[in-house]
Amino acid sequence: MNLAASTLTRADLSEAVYRQVGLSRNESALLVDAVLEEISIALDNGEEVKISSFGTFSLRQKAERTGRNPKTKVEVPIKPRRVLTFRPSHLLRERINR
């Protein structure tokens, strides 16, 4: 395990795109956002998003159920909802354990 673990953000991804692709910094940032936005739109339309050698984002429909506030024990209805799940590809799993 890495003791000096750090957190990457959009800025780091834009920087990587800037260095790899040779667009301006500003445009690289816009395009990173555009990719994430296209994925979000597809998911919102109910599409599955399959990124080969990375993983698959898919939606699962959850039925309505009765939840309970664990502190107050008051029952609250939980509406039916869509939850996003990510299934990493084998390649990504292997990369992380190498």
Binding site: T7, L13, V35, E38, I51, F54, I96
Partner: protein, 97 residues
């Protein structure tokens, strides 16, 4: 939507981009996330979600067919947590209230 469809959509929305550049952008993005996870780092994309690697300890597994015990080594598993904004978006405006 597949990786190549994502590249197509990106290219058609940004007509000045060459197909090759659209491909490079998508590849770089997922490569960089993968590299970060492999190095034990997290990737936090505000509004979209967070990628991290969860540590799983070694355990004794079982072959479900034969019932035989098999040792399973310690490993890390990629994990994604959906961001608040995306979660709400997927459930319409009244969600989360």
């Amino acid at each position: 939507m597949t990786r190549s469809e994502l590249v197509q959509r990106l290219a058609s929305l940004h007509p000045h981009l060459m197909q090759r550049d659209a491909e490079a952008i998508v590849s770089t993005l997922f490569e960089t996330i993968g590299d970060a996870l492999a190095e034990g780092n997290r990737v936090e994309l505000r509004g979209f979600g967070m990628f991290s690697a969860k540590q799983r300890s070694a355990r004794i597994g079982r072959n479900p067919r034969t019932g035989e015990s098999v040792p399973v080594d310690e490993k890390a598993v990629p994990f994604f947590k959906t961001g608040k904004q995306l979660r709400e978006r997927l459930n319409g405006s009244e969600a989360g209230s």
